[in-house]
């Protein structure tokens, strides 16, 4: 029987619109320190390798992991960087352990969106020969996706706005959240229009922060904590890059990623077996579309799902009890913070945002234009 991979501890900074007093190293130091404090481990004696996740373009620095070894104890030791979403770094850390090469892996991620204009960076992620000069960014592309999705299935702006009201409301119970708020549907619908149908409140605000997760091989995880969380299944997948090559009203790569994750975790009926979802919704419509991709409802049913109240805190399947990305989490850190929040739920450490009796949770990360690549993790509560 192969050993499982356990999440031992997680740490997050408070996410804020700007953290001008902290260098990027300071952000990582803050979360690394929290992990050490909680677990009592030593970076030098116990941690075998460090996996980081950050982006050169966001940091304005080639090799954005340059400030990492200083604050993660990896001087003259193993460190490597995944350049994508933080959920992928957790996946890579998991591989470090499953391969038998390492027993304990520290995974960290940082981003300071306040230091730059994200639209320029997103434009650099668009195909450079045909589309980049059009000035596309992730917002303008998302607006096209939202229009396509909403038009095809008759999803209303009100249904999307409900996601914002729910998530920003949930954030009030999350001490790490950047922008908790009691909003009405009118607030969302009447906020300034960014790109139809996406308003300022339909979009994720820019954010600064960091996240860390300590992973360990089963036997070591059990020694380090009495509340381990097991990674039961993982799946990740790329979609096409050109928007014209995709059906934007669907999310094929998320369907494949979740299928792989469920298969590995032996989950046959996600709607019944899963207790909560922490997902990466950069824009409100995405929570509805991603719920379809994750197999919680049929295609085009995302709107009905939010209407039914199922995804509310008191519903059968709370989605983003933390407040999600709409309440402010930096890109890159995003997917890792979803894993962290889902793990906290399963450890029963979520305070006012705790979902009662949570046993199995989904954490989801995405990167690329209109959710081009997705990573899905199925987490299971361990211990007594």
């Amino acid at each position: 029987m192969p050993q499982r991979v356990g999440i031992v501890a997680v740490a997050q900074t408070k996410y804020e619109a700007a953290k001008p007093r902290q260098h990027l190293s300071d952000l990582v130091l803050e979360v690394t320190d929290k992990i050490l404090e909680e677990t009592g481990i030593s970076l030098i004696d116990d941690v075998d390798s460090v996996v980081s996740c950050s982006q050169d373009h966001w940091d304005g620095r080639t090799i954005s992991s340059m400030p990492i070894p200083d604050v993660t104890g990896s001087h003259l030791r193993d460190e490597s960087k995944v350049a994508g979403d933080g959920a992928y770094a957790v996946l890579y850390g998991m591989m470090h352990i499953l391969s038998g090469h390492h027993d304990i892996v520290l995974v960290v991620s940082h981003c300071s969106e306040s230091q730059t204009d994200g639209r320029i960076i997103e434009n650099c992620a668009i195909d450079h020969i045909y589309h980049r000069m059009l000035g596309l960014d992730f917002l303008s592309c998302a607006a096209m996706q939202a229009n396509r999705y909403m038009h095809k299935y008759g999803i209303s702006r009100e249904q999307c706005a409900k996601v914002v009201v729910k998530n920003r409301g949930n954030a009030k119970n999350n001490p790490y959240a950047q922008a908790p708020a009691k909003l009405s549907l009118e607030d969302v619908l009447n906020s300034s229009m960014l790109a139809f149908p996406i308003t300022a409140l339909d979009a994720k605000p820019a954010s600064d922060g960091a996240c860390a997760i300590l992973l360990a091989k089963e036997d070591k995880a059990k020694k380090l904590t009495d509340k381990p969380v097991w990674i039961k299944g993982v799946g990740n997948c790329y979609d096409a890059h050109f928007l014209g090559d995709r059906d934007l009203s669907a999310c094929d790569s998320l369907v494949s990623a979740s299928k792989r994750a469920y298969e590995m975790a032996s989950i046959t009926n996600p709607g019944k077996e899963i207790d909560l979802v922490e997902m990466s919704e950069m824009f409100s419509y995405q929570e509805l579309l991603w719920m379809e991709g994750l197999g919680f409802c049929d295609r085009g049913e995302g709107g009905h799902l939010i209407d039914s109240g199922t995804t509310q805190m008191e519903g059968n399947l709370p989605v983003n009890p933390s407040g999600g990305l709409l309440s402010g989490v930096p890109v890159t850190v995003a997917g890792m913070s979803r894993v962290a929040e889902a793990a906290l739920q399963l450890q029963g450490k979520c305070g006012d945002r705790q979902v009662p009796e949570a046993k199995i949770a989904i954490a989801h990360g995405t990167a690329g234009v209109c959710g081009q690549m997705h990573c899905v993790l199925v987490l299971e509560k361990g211990g007594k």
């Binding site: 192969p2 260098h23 390798s49 982006q55 050169d56 373009h57 304005g60 620095r61 080639t62 090799i63 954005s64 992991s65 340059m66 400030p67 070894p69 200083d70 990896s74 001087h75 003259l76 030791r77 193993d78 460190e79 490597s80 960087k81 995944v82 350049a83 994508g84 992928y88 996946l91 890579y92 591989m95 470090h96 499953l98 391969s99 038998g100 090469h101 960076i121 997103e122 992620a125 668009i126 195909d127 450079h128 020969i129 993982v234 799946g235 990740n236 997948c237 790329y238 979609d239 096409a240 890059h241 094929d252 494949s256 990623a257 792989r260 990167a367 690329g368 081009q372 690549m373 990573c375």
Partner: protein, 388 residues
Amino acid sequence: MPQRVAIVGIGQTRHTSRRPDVNDGELINEAVSAALADAQLTMKDIETVIIGNMEFFEGHHLNDAMLVDYTGARGKSGFKMNTGGTVGTMNVISGWYNVASGLFDTCLVIGWEKHDEAPTTSCITTITDPAIDRPYAVGALSGLAIISMNYMTRTGCKVEHAAMVRAQASENASRNPNAHVRDRLSVEDILKARMVVYPLNLYFLCPTSVGACATVLASEVKANKITKKPVWIKDHVTVHSDYSGALFTFPGETRETSHMVAGRKLFQRNHITKPIREIQVFEMYDPCAFVQMSWLEDFGICGEGEGWRLVEKGVTAREGEFPVCPSGGVLCTNAIGDSGTLRVAEAALQIRGDAGEHQVTRDVKTALASGYGGSYWTDLLLLSKTLD
């Protein structure tokens, strides 16, 4: 269950200073197609794709996602690595983790760089801290000059020895049709080149190249079905240093670099006591002529001060007892994100006996490949013809 991992397919582009005839994706696709053809596989057989380079050299954010049509990753698993200069070797190591973890059985690994798209040294300069030392940093040049001066001062190595290393590399590269700078150079030619940063003249430094390299990795069960000549990745070590780097050693301090730690770990773990006898070829990431000698010592291949003596005696030549970079190495070909992947690929070709004109004369059973980058960062891989 952990699985053992082999290289079952190898492909690379020719390397040159400019490729205006192809875009990034087309360049990558040349290497991908060559690697798949070498393995006699199609993209249908590939489960996951790992790609890596340094984004600033081309200016693309999330280029793994942008280039899926050329890498073949659409509909597949995979992600992108970026660890700076070591990213090429890190790609292979990441591919190893993907397969060794048991999550996948086949993995396509791609390293690439297109240095004709942007000024390389300006981009490398941004590895420095924007608040502290960026205003006076000069890419990788100053660091390599410091390492070279330090080596000469410590060991009595002369500039002529570096010229011997470079002459040997040019002899090797002239036999390698995919190498970039293939001119046959004499020690005199090399010493006459114009100075860039003392003691490094133009020939002592690696060029900026355009190229891509891809390898196909497979689990034990699959590998034996795919090829009769699998090359096993027996072990690997990654060692990074903190940002202040290990460039400087003050009098009285013990010198400890990431290469030293990596060599010690790898050899101890694999019970290699006399690497120079037990390993038959080393494809080292050698960005300048002096470091090839210095790093033979750091990796523990020979004792301190013996590196330049090995070169003097011809031990590291293609026909020598311990050939170093028979492909011509990074000294003759350097497309950064591809360089490390290429080191592993070239070492594997030597084990397979498929290196053609630049095949070493010794029978190769075990080979080393290294990556270098960052503020003294190291990847070191041990490849083997057999599993035991």
